[in-house]
Symmetry: D3
Subunit: 113 residues, 6 copies
């Protein structure tokens, strides 16, 4: 729970600070996120999984946390998450494993929070 | 059509050559691919999209081509493919655009082949 | 000259095809490019160099070509371009060298076109 | 201020340890840094921005911190820094955002230190 | 010593949790590691160095720590480790330096543990 | 043979052009290569393998070709090369496979040239 709260608080605080800089390009990039992951020709659950695995192969712990949070809200099961992890691990190689460890820890924290 | 055939022929020829080297580790990695993308807790169509977007953000043209070929067999629509492209483009940034161009050209070739 | 024309023609053709897909997220990402590189608190010449070196360390030949084309229009000298290359080469390491070769060839083509 | 001091102290201590290993190749790479970023055909302020944005798209927090420190000494304004961030964010994609958060926090620390 | 113990404990705990998920693909990837680094046409000491430098250029601190632990057991000398570091630093560029700092700190911890 | 000659000729021609630019930083980076891969605490054969696998996980075809050329001169066997490939494939994941195909084709060309 601490892991989850710390991540969300820091993320919210710094996003506010960044958007407060009034840089138009950054603001628009932040806004595009909502659009890109909304229901469309692909449903939002599928899109969230795309976000999760892309974040994993690019090895960004915070991006993985963000998408895991969304996946948790969307009621993905453990088995589904680990199948997505497996694809990321296979495509991205063993270099992904340390991120897989931290992702699994975070996923478990989400379930108890 | 030429794009598609050239890719498939070279891929098939070189995979055979590599597997002929009798290196066990490489053989097993190649075999894992079939497992990872098979129906499970997630269906194979969703998994193929994960493969596609991960390949796109990692900027591997040949991996993108391979997954586009599979997506074509699975009857994904243009709109669905472009929504997956959009997520990859947003997460991976404009550095992904040249790969998006080649992917679009290949996708169009698949539709006429 | 052929290098330059081939690149520009393929880029223009495929960008038109991609934007014709009517995917809003991709369209907006393409539009952001114009904004991000326009004169502002930093002048557009400085920004173009940022685009060039970022493309070089991320090892994207086509992105490098695009920014070199802009740098050529903006009258950067050989010495300036090579100092930018040097920073990219130092930060990105010797893995960047093959891209440096193709970038230099393209830069020379721009000067004779 | 703590963020800034911690970074600088650890960096100084470990650089000294690494250079003490007497490995010639590493020593020369460290020395090249001074050369590459000195005034030349491009001025050192422009070069520092190149270092900053390259570090950002390559997603190295410590490299970003180092160049932000230099940018602070060189009196770059908030607006200029955020325009450089915007280019890195656009080229590198939303995967860069968590690094943007930490970079912004560090930049704010520099201003109060 | 604390650095080393913390790393090993977290790694062991999370690997157990991940393997407990009973995902076959992930399990097989974990198993391949043992095979790939065993004595063969290349001896295991050479292979460990390959693992170390690949981890360094891919900038994965935890992977570097894992391979440094193995290199320490295999009695590599300081000079040998720094020559491997130098190659990774040259190929991967100065972006590797922050990882080099943490790797050196960990290597020194191993020697006193 | 054509693959090998084309690579070597282009590489030689463009390296000469780049070094002719008289940029000191780039010149020194090029010179460091000879130093880093010379016999030292680690022998030059081991170092060449480090260069090969690092190039493979970083997915740079031309860097792989260069190191394969050196490995061929040093009389590495097929089995040794494929064990190095296997480690790169495992660490770097299936995203490395297209580069493995081109590397194998080039290695076979070297043996018949």
């Amino acid at each position: 729970m601490e892991l989850v709260n710390d991540f969300n608080e820091y993320r919210a605080k710094m996003n506010e600070r960044i958007l407060g800089s009034e840089n138009k390009v950054i603001k628009r990039i932040f806004n595009l996120d909502t659009n890109a992951f909304a229901d469309g020709a692909l449903d939002s659950k599928t899109k969230e999984l795309l976000g999760l695995t892309c974040s994993m192969v690019l090895r960004c712990d915070d991006c993985v946390k963000y998408h895991l949070g969304k996946c948790h809200e969307m009621k993905f099961t453990d088995e589904q998450i680990f199948e997505a992890f497996a694809i990321a691990n296979l495509i991205g190689g063993t270099i992904v494993i340390p991120h897989l460890r931290r992702a699994t820890e975070y996923w478990d924290s989400l379930k108890t929070s």
